[in-house]
């Protein structure tokens, strides 16, 4: 095209052959080059734009360079916890205590739920919402209560949106939360090892290490993981100040979260919040390794089953009906 223009296209005496510099500036190629450079520079500037609004409030250098939770030594962890407490004060105005609760030796947690007794009142979901400092705007909770047709175990037909007085005579109610699998698909798919299974059976997330890819959410067959689409909104006076790094501290935007069997309570020997909130006593919690524990008596004496056993996830959460 250019050859045509310069060689044959322009006639004799057009003057372009005498002014090569001028001609170099005005060709289509140079125009395209110039446009591409301008667009490229604009795109680059746009890509770097977040840096212009970057400040220590959003992400400090310390946050950015923080090690994985499992690689922190005691001093580093103490510094991180202190920093997180200051963040809670700054962002939410609340005085909170963030601890690092570790598993107890000789303890593996198990949970059982009596479907004959559960009436579907959703008080467990509500208690979870408050205990774990969930986002008030989305009404998030780690527990989803499914209304199921009696005689059916088809979770696909379970309905979480019911408003009539419960229990309906034709239905039974199945609260579903993290099953704390011994073979957890969510852990296997995490590309950055931000989620793992601890020695007491709890699958946890390092919220500071999670990149928010949501692979784990897709991998979980129980729909038990939640994503923080926005920065959680929690009124200052409603914040539960008893927090743990791996559990109910207020999560940052853009990370996954999940039920931890309230490890900030249960690793102190207490019952989970959902169990204490249950008005009918449908829930049983305890140490699977203790042969005298309530949970072991349920497993020994009741016909317990697990959800989606065929997937081989080996849940630590058991369901049963009274005979």
């Amino acid at each position: 095209m250019e050859n045509q223009t310069t060689g044959e296209g322009c006639g004799k005496g057009c003057g372009c052959h005498q002014e090569p510099d001028d001609q170099g500036r005005s060709t289509r190629r140079n125009l395209l080059k110039g446009a591409a450079v301008t667009l490229g520079a604009a795109a680059f500037a746009k890509a770097l734009a977040p840096l212009a609004t970057w400040s220590r409030d959003n992400l400090s250098v310390d946050d950015f360079l923080q090690q994985h939770y499992r690689e922190l030594n005691k001093e580093q962890l103490a510094a991180v916890l202190k920093h997180l407490e200051e963040d809670a004060k700054k962002n939410y105005g609340a005085d909170v205590v963030i601890s690092d609760h570790r598993p107890q030796k000789g303890v593996k947690f198990g949970y059982a739920l009596n479907l004959s007794i559960c009436i579907g009142c959703r008080r467990c979901a509500e208690a979870c919402h408050h205990e774990n400092n969930h986002d008030r705007a989305t009404g998030n909770s780690y527990i989803r209560v499914l209304e199921m047709q009696k005689g059916s175990m088809d979770l696909e037909h379970g309905n979480a949106h019911y408003e009539h007085p419960v229990p309906h005579p034709d239905k039974f109610y199945m609260p579903v939360q993290c099953q704390q699998c011994d073979n957890p698909p969510c852990v296997h798919v995490c590309p950055v090892e931000a989620t793992w299974k601890e020695d007491d059976g709890i699958v946890v997330v390092d919220y500071n290490w999670c990149i928010g890819c949501r692979y784990c959410e897709a991998a979980c067959p129980y729909h038990a993981r939640r994503f923080n689409w926005t920065k959680p909104v929690v009124p200052k006076e409603e914040i539960n100040p008893n927090q743990s790094y791996l559990s109910n501290r207020i999560r940052p935007q853009g990370v996954m979260e999940k039920c931890t069997f309230c490890l900030h309570r249960t690793r102190e020997g207490k019952m989970p919040a959902c169990l204490e909130a249950c008005p009918t006593g449908a829930r049983v919690f305890g140490n699977l390794l203790d042969p005298d524990s309530e949970i072991r008596k349920v497993i020994d004496n009741k016909r317990v089953f697990v959800l989606k056993e065929e997937l081989g996830t080996k849940p630590s959460f058991f369901y049963f009906f009274d005979e």
């Binding site: 994985h68 499992r70 690689e71 609760h101 570790r102 598993p103 107890q104 030796k105 303890v107 059982a112 009596n114 007794i117 009436i119 579907g120 009142c121 959703r122 008080r123 979901a125 509500e126 919402h129 989305t138 009404g139 909770s141 989803r144 209560v145 696909e156 037909h157 309905n159 979480a160 949106h161 019911y162 408003e163 007085p165 419960v166 229990p167 793992w196 299974k197 601890e198 020695d199 007491d200 690793r267 102190e268 020997g269 207490k270 019952m271 204490e276 249950c278 008005p279 009918t280 006593g281 049983v284 919690f285 305890g286 140490n287 309530e294 008596k297 349920v298 004496n301 009274d322 005979e323």
Partner: protein, 218 residues
């Protein structure tokens, strides 16, 4: 020229060897340290004693009181002890519904199988209950009365799988409080009542909530 190229070759292979060593070290060191960085290696250092804290079973009210239907000067309902009336009246064994009475207990919602009032209430002493064998029983011991008929529930209660509780799963670290029968079950109509569910899940933006039969066309 030859010396220079030999030196150049040595330097080239030297750099290659250095980079290879770097790669091997970067792979080998984390592998050697894999035990240290495994999840959950660190346990709680808290020392827990063997002494067990108590399991406290809530006791029912010591004595039942009945609303007289009258209000005192402050607008509070006047409550009357059973013996106030029943000490001077003969029991009527035939009555098993509140409606059949002319005064008191008329609004009592009573739905408890085929039992009658005096199946559980003690006609000789209305300040106590009566077991099936005729022995009297304090109101505070009512779990014994219930468990005469509701054996499986009592067995499950003893195994810890019936009845709500609060406190500690680990009794070495703290106590536990357990409900008694009448905390959840009204003894006159023991079936757990219908309740309105709380805390409805908020729909995610874009999620269509259809009636159950329409949401799955297949």
């Amino acid at each position: 020229m030859t010396a220079g190229s030999r030196l150049g070759r040595w330097m080239f292979f030297g750099v290659i060897a250095l980079i290879t060593l770097w790669f091997v070290a970067a792979l080998a060191l984390p592998w050697l340290q894999r035990e240290r960085s495994k999840p959950g290696r660190a346990f709680s250092e808290k020392v827990i004693g063997d002494a067990l804290h108590p399991v406290i079973i809530r006791t029912p009210e010591g004595m039942a009181l009945v609303d007289s239907g009258k209000k005192d000067a402050k607008g509070q309902a006047v409550m009357v002890a059973c013996a106030t009336c029943h000490d001077t009246r003969d029991p009527n064994y035939k009555i098993d519904q509140g409606e059949a009475l002319q005064e008191f207990h008329k609004g009592l919602n009573y739905q408890h199988g085929s039992l009658t009032c005096l199946s559980c209430h003690n006609a000789n002493d209305y300040n106590s209950l009566k077991k099936a064998d005729g022995q009297s029983l304090e109101f505070s011991q009512s779990m014994q009365l219930c468990s005469q008929c509701h054996g499986p529930q009592f067995r499950d209660y003893q195994n810890g799988s019936h009845g709500g509780m609060t406190g500690h799963w680990d009794l070495r670290q703290g106590s536990r409080e357990r409900n008694t029968c009448t905390d959840c079950h009204d003894p006159h109509h023991p079936k757990y009542p219908l309740v309105l569910p709380v805390f409805p899940p908020k729909p995610v933006i874009g999620e269509a909530i259809l009636p159950v039969d329409q949401s799955h066309p297949h």
